[in-house]
Each structure stands twice: as C-alpha cells, then as structure tokens.
C-alpha cells in the first residue's frame, strides 16, 4: 500500500521564479493538505483540498496556490519566489474528518532552496 508520495525530493530555484510541487495521496484518502516547515520549526498549514476545492487556507499570501485533480492528487504552486520560501514542503493526506481511520499521513516532503 503506497503511502503519500511527493515529487521532486529536492529543488533549487532562483528568487523570482515559480515552482510546482506534486503530491499523490495514500490509497483511500481523498483530502490533501500542504504545509511549510522551516528549519527548527513545526509544520505551518498552507491549505487543504477536498473534492477539488480549497477547503481551508492558512496565513499564506496569494503567491501560494494549489489544485486538486479528480484522482485526488494535488499540486502546490509558488510564484515570485523569495529567499524566505526556502523550506521543507510537506503534503499530508487523510479522510475529511477524524475517525478510526483518519490517518493524517505525511509524505517525505520536497526540500526547496531559493537562491
């Protein structure tokens, strides 16, 4: 049973460029959430997608946008990259609400470095 897969694993971009990160959820999960984790900090919530719609958004600027596809996979797009966007970007998949199988499961992340 494949877990959450993210691609690419590492990425180096130049300030001002745009980047797209991808996530495939765990089999059976239909909800995808994206997080940004700076070094030494906990994951910060960016947004969550369910039924191809943005269900909730954290305190991130509009430069961060996303999409969910009919097969539940998701993309995170960041425009006009800043040096401060350098971080580990994590994708988590789950069912839409807690229960015995809520399973808020993370991928291994994409490490983005902006130079």
């Amino acid at each position: 049973d494949a877990g959450v897969t993210q691609s690419p694993t590492h990425l180096i971009k130049t300030r001002g460029q745009q980047v797209t990160l991808r996530c495939s959820p765990k089999s059976g999960h239909d909800t995808v959430s994206w997080y940004q984790q700076a070094l030494g900090q906990g994951p910060q919530f960016i947004f969550q997608y369910y039924e191809e719609e943005e269900r909730q958004r954290g305190n991130f600027p509009d430069r961060f946008s996303g999409h969910q596809f009919p097969n539940y996979s998701s993309e995170l797009n960041v425009n006009a990259l800043l040096l401060g966007d350098s971080a580990l970007y994590l994708c988590a998949s789950s069912h839409p609400a807690p229960g015995a199988d809520y399973g808020y499961t993370f991928g291994s992340g994409t490490r983005l470095t902006v130079v």
């Binding site: 906990g42 994951p43 954290g58 839409p96 609400a97 807690p98 399973g103 808020y104």
Partner: protein, 112 residues
C-alpha cells in the same frame, strides 16, 4: 501566546530511560490529539492518535491528555537510540475542516 507550545530541547537521555515529552495548548476546542515523530530531513510519522482526555498505550509509547489543564504528554519506555528524533504534538478541534495545529517539536537524543 502560540496555540501549541513545546520545549524545543534537545532532551538527551541514556538508552533504557523513560522519556517524558510534553505539550501545552490554549484552544479549549481541541478534542483530538496526535503525536508525530520526525527524523532529520524526513516527513512526520504518526505515532499516536487519541480523542479527548485519558491515556492510550501502544507498545513502548503512552499518550496522556489532561484537558482540564490543557496538557499533553508522550511517554517512551525503554528508550532506544532509534527513538532519537523530533517529536511533534498536533491537536485539532472537532468540526470545521479538522486541521491539526503543530507545535515546533521537541528534539530527543537517546545515547547508547
């Protein structure tokens, strides 16, 4: 005041010790409580998931929730060097979109 607070550590213990990792929170709407383990440069791995107050045990791990004092604990018995990681607590409220709020994590080092 942050919604979820954790001492970042590092907490250094000898192999075999009982470890106590703690977390406090401010939002009384939190009903579900998760603990994650994160190895360096990896994604967080779900360890324990509990609902409301009380204890839950899974092998060497015990999660304890005291909602009256808004205090969450994770105990690790017979700690091993492989337990060396950052431990994140992540409570979430009932209703809405069920988005967990993460603490910054506590770094644990278990030395042989």
């Amino acid at each position: 005041q942050k919604e979820v607070e954790q001492d970042p550590g590092p907490l250094s213990v000898p192999e075999g010790a009982i470890v106590s990792l703690n977390c406090t929170y401010s939002n009384s709407a939190f009903q579900y409580f998760m603990w994650y383990r994160q190895y360096s440069r990896k994604g967080p791995e779900l360890l324990m998931y509990t609902y409301s107050s009380g204890n839950k045990e899974d092998g060497r791990f015990t999660a304890q929730v005291d909602k009256s004092s808004k205090y969450i604990s994770l105990f690790i018995r017979d700690s091993q060097p492989s337990d060396s990681a950052t431990y994140l607590c992540a409570p979430l409220a009932e209703g809405g979109s069920y988005i967990p709020t993460f603490g910054r994590g506590t770094s644990l080092i278990v030395h042989p």
